[in-house]
Amino acid sequence: MSGVDDIPKSVAGLPNTSPRYIGQPVERLEDPALLTGRTQFIDDVVLPRMLHCAILRSPHAHARIVAVDTSEAAKLPGVVAVVTGEDAKRWSNPTMTVPPGWGTHCLATDKARFVGEPVAAVAAVSRYVAEDALELIGVEYESLPAVADARKALEPGSPLLFEEHGHNVMLQKVFTWGDVDAAFASAVHVVQQQFRWNRLGANPLETFGVVSEWDVVDGTLTCRGSFQAQNHFAMARAMVFNLPLNKVRFISHPHGGSFGGKGGARGTDITALLSRKAGGRPVKWIEDRMEYLAGGASQAWDRHYDAAIALDTNGKVTGFKVKLLDDLGATAEGWGAVSAAKPLTNFTGCYAIPAAQYDLTIVATNKLPGSPYRGMGPPPHNWVLEQLMDLAARKLAFDPAEIRRRNFIPPEAFPYTIASGNEYDSGDYRAALETALEMADYPALRAEQLRLRSEGRYVGIGLVNTIEPGVFDWNAYAIVGQPGTGVPEGATVAIDLFGKLTIKVGFALEGQGQYTVAAQVLADYFAVDIADVRVVALDTLSAPPHFGPGGSRLGVALTGAVLGAAQRLTEKLIAVAAVLFQTTPEHVELRNGMIGVKGMPEAQMPFQQVAQTMLARSDLLPPGIDPNPESTFVWTAPGRTPADDQGRAKSYLTAANACHIVLVEVDIETAQVHIKKYWIADDCGTRLNPANVEGQTQGGVAQGVGAALLEEAVYDEDAQLRTSTFMDYLLPTIYEVPMTEKRALCTPSPFTPLGAKGCGEGAMHTTPAAILCAINDALAPLGVALFEVPASPQRIWTLLQGAAPR
């Protein structure tokens, strides 16, 4: 039987001499339903006797819960069930966390640890009635001192999130790779800087939603919802409710974006408890935007950095040290700690830096638990490294492009193992840089900058290169306590009686166009029209092992799964066709959609005909032959290794790279930043659907603009949230996002199906660093620089007050 090594690493390896779809900007199969409003998002689901949930949340950042009185709420006509922390304690376990031991129940039991933490919930005949009922619930709180600042949370005497630990430190470890002390001791130059990245987060336009149904007779739980990784959430619920995994069924619906955090564990658990208490009636909860901003998966990357690079006389970086204090918020329930681990996969960026150190502390505070967000940790890390490169360039009087040229991993060095242990598959970083410089007409751009400066205008150029680690692996997160190596993704390919193809997968639409990519790949494999391929999603109990989108992996993993399944199906077809052709299987092949005898062009029949024979002419089949024209393949990245004691592993399979150049102007009267021009040279190997890739890139630029200039979840010193609407938490609009000029480069991955690399996190890895470096380039004549994100007008204005007189 064929396996992962048989999957073609280029389009030329397909059994089709004229593929029509792979590499083309194919229109998306998912779009007609989306454009006509027919796609069924979770809030569109209506089930018989369905109830609606509303959740009462803590207004305090830290408070003991003395009493909860739900008697009046329960009496309100239309209310069917009410749950509190007592129900959660009786019927569920605290959620599992990474690192372990820092989790709570879905409803606060003894105390509330952050503003927005669920305290009680109601199921009623409408959301309106459920929200009325919340006003009738009485909660007696005893306010406790709160800690909002990670540095203060480390001090003795700080309020404790979990008293049983005796401190707020979730994880503290120093990872050392190579002789970093020697590198700094012998350095000719050292550049050191502190950085502050403030909290921001995913904010998909659709918030999380779920409909849970607890069958109280047969003890099963069915949850429909916008789950990014349905099996992951199903597994966690089985653990929370002490249920066998096969009694938990998750059905993921198409969702309106995710960017890392879609899943809503607490809301799922709360609706499950309400359904159980309501005798099994389905209970729907749709998170509203304020709930999302205060209590959802809306915040990530709350970081204090102190970092340095060591350089020799030639500007070659010999060592890189990062000390990170990562504020994960009230619990570790949201997998946010993984974001502190992922920088190991691209720690030293595009550069050949032999020694590095990561001094990592993850601390708990009374803020919302951190969640994943697109990029999953490296975007702030990349900013730190790229800004240090710029500072070094200024110190050594190099152009920012030149210092990067001197440090790139050369193209002939691949596959290349970086100091922190991951292996980069391929790339040509110099080519990306030179392409971007040419696109921007860099010398002219610098001349223009000088000219504008002479007119008293402060324009800056940002030029950065980054790696986008693709095809995530659990082993990358071993240092924060995540078990496992390998992330299986399965697909089933079936041919029906009428000769059409169906691909069955374990994930719902999310926006990246994955169903279209799967159909492109299969249509080219069997040389059929793409309209003959349909892609359907299965639930957790019927799909093959799966994870779904995440960590820039699905395009690669799904291509592997579809091609692997197609190859296994072809073997079945060949076995049957060999009987029909009165020969043996080794003489039969698939070629351009026909199953035929090798070397005999006329001895062939359409592959569909072989499948039809299997399904409808058992009289022609020999005994013992498999009559099912359907095959499944579960792809997982080959060659992954478990992490060693310093966290080193072959983890993410691919390393895409990009160079961004941006021109910004800082208006020193209003302290606003205007992005004037933006160029991107991007290499993610084979582009399966270039329009999809461009969309991912441009979408990443937009989120990068938000990160650099606008987005910040603000808490006051009492840990009270100040940004609970889109009037306070600012998302980028068309007024802020630049229309970019993009050029594609291609160094195919030598390791992946068709040579594709992960590209889903797009420009989020690069854009924040590019813009922030550009702002500091603009401010350089004033003798000031900003090392805090976002670069809001208020921050820049404050900085300008201390600037050199103009």
Binding site: G37, R38, G511, T733
Partner: protein
């Protein structure tokens, strides 16, 4: 608290009458009472634009408008854009230009663009930006949406 009122409105050319609680928002009425779930709720406070529908030809946020305010009105939603199996030129342009990813914000964008292109067949770049500026898309970074608007303008001009 639960005062009700009988209202009537024409939605996508079809007349509807219903008894509604006066506190019911227009978007909840369209989605919940009429089952027109193509209009989406993104923020429920009038910022993101996902819930945009046409109210007597004008693009409005149906999440911050009450159903009773639309009593007697002509309302158009995304379900009213296509002509049977034929996509509206705006929908077709979004399809061809990859002007959407998750598609959640898209109905709202298309209704505002529909209002713009009903008002003028030759919008300026500034008019296009100002129309899209009232909407948030978290996926696309807007570039493909701008391209889709230009293509829709061409398509609508050609069909006249």
């Amino acid at each position: 608290m639960t005062t009700t009122r009988r209202i009537g409105m024409t939605v996508n050319g079809e007349r509807h009458e219903a008894e509604v609680e006066v506190r019911t928002t227009l978007v909840d009425f369209l989605r919940g009472t009429l089952g027109l779930t193509g209009t989406h709720v993104g923020c429920e406070h009038g910022v993101c634009g996902a819930c945009t529908v046409l109210w007597n030809g004008k693009a409005v946020r149906s999440c911050i408008m009450l159903a009773v305010q639309a009593d007697g009105a002509e309302v158009k939603t995304v379900e009213g854009l296509a002509d049977g199996a034929t996509l509206h030129p705006i929908q077709q342009a979004f399809l061809e230009k990859h002007g959407l990813q998750c598609g959640f914000c898209t109905p709202g964008f298309m209704m505002s663009i529909h209002e713009l292109l009903t008002r003028t067949s030759a919008p300026t770049d500034d008019e296009i930006v100002d129309t899209l500026g009232g909407h948030i898309c978290r996926c696309t970074g807007y570039q493909a949406i701008v391209e889709a608007v230009h293509l829709a303008v061409e398509k609508m001009r050609a069909s006249k």
